[in-house]
C-alpha cells in the first residue's frame, strides 16, 4: 500500500514537472510523435498493401499459361486450349485478353481487359475510379461520368471512341483503379490482335496438389509456354512489397537515428536547473532509486504520449488520407491512385515492434544519464 502510494506521489510530481518545462517537452513530444508517425505509417501501409494483394490474388486463377518468344511474353494461340484441356486433372481452360494502354491525353497507363459481359455491347467500356478522375478529357477536378466518351488511338493509327457504360465498384482500388473493361471486338481493334490469339490462358484444376504435375505436362506438350502458379505470384508480390518498404525503412532508419541522438543529447545534457532539482530532492531525503523512478515516469509519459499520438496520426494518414506521403514511393508503377484508400489491417505484432523500437529505448535513454546525476553528493545543494 505504501509502495503504491509512493509511486502515485512520485508520478504525480513527474507529471506536474513535465508541465513546468512546457516548451522543451512539447517540442520533444512533437519530434517524437513525428518519428512514430512515419514508422507506423510505413508498417501499416506495407502490411495492408500485402494483405490487399493477397486477397486479390486469392480469386486469381490457380495457374496462368503464357507463351514465350525469345524469353519474352508473346501472344498465345488459342488452339493450345484444346490440347491443354486433355490433360488429366484440368477442369477448364479459358483465354484472356488484356494489356496496357498509354493514354497520351492524360499521360497515364491504363490496364485494358476484355470482359465477356461486354462482348455483345461493343463500343462500351466500364472504368475504374482512377481512370474516371484521370482521363476527364480536359476537365479538371471532375470525374468522368456515365455515357461520356473516351477517345482511344488504335495500333493502326485510327481513332476509336468508346462510351463509358459504368464504373467499377470501389472494393479493391489497388487493382481496379487503372482498369478499363472492354469488349473483345474493341480490344482486338485497339491492339490489332488477330482472332485465334490471346494474351494468356487461365486454368482451373480439380486438385491444387496436382498443379506442379500439370505445369510440367504443359511444358512437355508446348515447350514454348511458361505456366505460372498463383503461389509464385503471391511470393513475388511479397518480395516486391518487402523490397519497397525496405527502401522506406532505410530512409526512416536515418530519421530514427537522428531522433535517438536528439533523445540522448536531451537526456545526457540535463540542464543546470534539472541537476539543481535532483540535488534538492536528494538533500531533502529522496533516494537515488526514487529519482530514477521519477525519471522513468518522465520518459514513459513522454514516449507513451508520442507513441499513441503517432499511431493515431499514422492510422489517419494511411487509412483515411490515402497515404499521401508515400504514394509516390511505394506505388511508383502508376500515377493513377489519387484517392487510393486501403482497408485497415493492423496486427498486435506491428504495434509491439514499434513499441520496442521507440518507447523502450527512449525511456532507457532518459533514465541512464540521470543515474549519474542521481549519485551526485547531496551536499552540493548546500553550496548553490
Amino acid at each position: 500500500m505504501r509502495a503504491l502510494e509512493k509511486q502515485r506521489n512520485i508520478l504525480d510530481f513527474t507529471l506536474s514537472s513535465l508541465g513546468r518545462r512546457k516548451g522543451k517537452n512539447i517540442a520533444l513530444v512533437l519530434v517524437y510523435t513525428f518519428v512514430i508517425f512515419l514508422l507506423a505509417s510505413v508498417l501499416f501501409f506495407s502490411h495492408s498493401l500485402k494483405k490487399e494483394a493477397a486477397l486479390i490474388l486469392q480469386d486469381a486463377p490457380a495457374m496462368t499459361v503464357q507463351k514465350l518468344v525469345a524469353g519474352r511474353q508473346d501472344l498465345i494461340p488459342t488452339h493450345y486450349i484444346d490440347s491443354i484441356r486433355q490433360i488429366k486433372g484440368v477442369q477448364s481452360v479459358a483465354p484472356r485478353l488484356w494489356g496496357y494502354y498509354y493514354d497520351a491525353l492524360s499521360g497515364a497507363n491504363y490496364t485494358l481487359m476484355v470482359n465477356a459481359d461486354l462482348n455483345d455491347r461493343a463500343g462500351e467500356i466500364v472504368i475504374g475510379n482512377g481512370v474516371s478522375w484521370r482521363s476527364a478529357a480536359g476537365k479538371r477536378n471532375q470525374p468522368l461520368r456515365k455515357n461520356e466518351i473516351i477517345p482511344f488511338k488504335t495500333y493502326d493509327g485510327s481513332a476509336l471512341s468508346l462510351k463509358v457504360s459504368g464504373l467499377l465498384p470501389f472494393a479493391s482500388e489497388l487493382v481496379t483503379a487503372d482498369l478499363i473493361l472492354v469488349s473483345e471486338t474493341d480490344f482486338r481493334k485497339i491492339f490489332s490482335i488477330a482472332t485465334g490469339q490471346a494474351t494468356d490462358l487461365v486454368l482451373q484444376v480439380r486438385n491444387a496438389k496436382e498443379l506442379p504435375v500439370i505445369a510440367t505436362k504443359i511444358t512437355q506438350i508446348h515447350p514454348d509456354t511458361r505456366p505460372i502458379l498463383r503461389e509464385e505470384i503471391l511470393r513475388t508480390y511479397d518480395a516486391v512489397f518487402d523490397w519497397r518498404s525496405g527502401v522506406i525503412i532505410m530512409v526512416l532508419a536515418g530519421v530514427f537515428l537522428a531522433f535517438i541522438i536528439l533523445a540522448w543529447d536531451k537526456a545526457t545534457g540535463l540542464s543546470a536547473e534539472e541537476k539543481r532539482e535532483i540535488g534538492i530532492l536528494k538533500a531533502t531525503g529522496w533516494e537515488t532509486t526514487d529519482i530514477l523512478l521519477m525519471k522513468f515516469w518522465e520518459g514513459a509519459a513522454v514516449s507513451l504520449m508520442a507513441f499513441f499520438m503517432g499511431i493515431f496520426l499514422a492510422y489517419l494518414h494511411i487509412f483515411l488520407a490515402s497515404s499521401i506521403l508515400f504514394a509516390p514511393v511505394l506505388k511508383g508503377w502508376s500515377v493513377l491512385y489519387p484517392h487510393f484508400r486501403l482497408t485497415p489491417y493492423i496486427s498486435g505484432y506491428q504495434i509491439a515492434t514499434l513499441f520496442f523500437l521507440t518507447v523502450i529505448p527512449y525511456t532507457v535513454a532518459t533514465i541512464v544519464p540521470s543515474w549519474r546525476s542521481a549519485t551526485i553528493d547531496p551536499d552540493s545543494v548546500m553550496r548553490m
Binding site: 505504501r2 502510494e5 506536474s16 513546468r20 534538492i280 538533500a283 531533502t284 547531496p378 548546500m382
Partner: protein, 228 residues
C-alpha cells in the same frame, strides 16, 4: 544526540588543489536547545553542517547519532536518516520552481509513501502555522523573500524531524524578517526540536534563542561555550 569525534574533511585529496576544510573537530550536540556555528566566511561552517546532517561523509573521524555509529553506513541508510531526522533550511531556500509552495512542502515526504490526502492536509497545516496558508497554491517564484523562507521552513518540518539545520538563513532577509525567522526558531525550540544554525550574522548568534555558540576558524573550532 550527535557526537563528532576528530572529524577531518579534505577536498580534492591527493590532487594539487587539495584543501583541508575541517581539521580535528570534536563536538557533541545535545538534544533540544539551539546551537549557532559562528565564524568568518570560508571557516568551514557549511562543510561541518553537511557532515552533521549526513549529507557528506568526513574524510576521517567518527559520527554517532543517538548512540548509533553512522560513519560507515551505506548511502541508502544515510538518506533515510537524513529524511527522518533532519530538516534542512538552505541559504538560497532551494525551492523547486514551477510548482506551488504546497507541493514544495510535500516533496520530502513522497518517498515515505504517505497517503496523498493526509500528506496534503499536514502540509497545509504547516503553512497555516507559519502564516502563509494563503500562498499555498502560488508558484514559488511569485513568493516574496519572507514567504519563500517560510515555505522552506515548512518543507524542513514536513517529516517532523528532531533536528533543524539552517545554513546562513538570514543572508537574504532584511532585519525585520531575520528577527521573525529567529522567532520561528524559538517556537520550534520550545516544541523540543534541536536547532543548528550556521551564520556570521549577529542577529542570529546574538539572539537569545541561541543557547550555545561554536566558533570556527580555518576549519577548526576555536571556542565552544554556552551563552551565559
Amino acid at each position: 544526540m550527535i557526537h563528532l569525534q576528530n572529524i577531518r574533511k579534505v577536498f580534492n585529496a591527493g590532487r594539487p588543489n587539495e584543501f583541508v576544510a575541517i581539521e580535528g573537530v570534536t563536538l557533541a550536540i545535545d538534544s533540544q536547545g539551539a546551537t549557532a556555528l559562528k565564524g568568518p566566511s570560508g571557516s568551514g561552517k557549511t562543510t561541518l553542517l553537511s557532515i552533521l546532517g549526513c549529507m557528506a561523509r568526513p574524510t576521517a573521524g567518527r559520527i554517532t547519532l543517538q548512540e548509533r555509529e553512522i560513519t560507515s553506513l551505506p548511502e541508502r541508510f544515510l538518506t533515510e536518516i537524513r529524511r527522518e531526522t533532519f530538516g534542512f533550511i538552505f541559504q538560497q531556500f532551494n525551492l523547486i520552481k514551477g510548482i506551488t509552495a504546497l507541493e514544495n512542502v510535500m516533496l520530502p515526504a513522497y518517498p515515505n509513501g504517505e497517503n496523498y490526502v493526509s500528506l496534503k492536509k499536514r502540509a497545509m497545516e504547516l503553512l497555516d502555522l507559519l502564516n502563509i496558508g494563503g500562498k499555498a497554491t502560488s508558484k514559488v517564484e511569485w513568493l516574496s523573500g519572507g514567504e519563500a523562507q517560510r515555505t522552506a521552513i515548512a518543507r524542513a518540518l514536513i517529516n517532523n524531524p528532531a533536528i533543524i539545520i539552517a545554513d546562513e538563513p538570514t543572508a537574504h532577509l532584511d532585519t525585520r524578517l531575520s528577527a521573525e525567522f529567529m522567532e520561528i526558531m524559538r517556537q520550534l525550540k520550545q516544541e523540543g526540536k534541536t536547532i543548528l544554525i550556521a551564520s556570521h550574522d549577529p542577529i542570529v548568534y546574538e539572539s537569545d534563542v541561541i543557547d550555545r555558540i561554536v566558533e570556527m576558524r580555518d576549519g577548526r573550532i576555536v571556542s565552544s561555550g554556552d551563552v551565559p
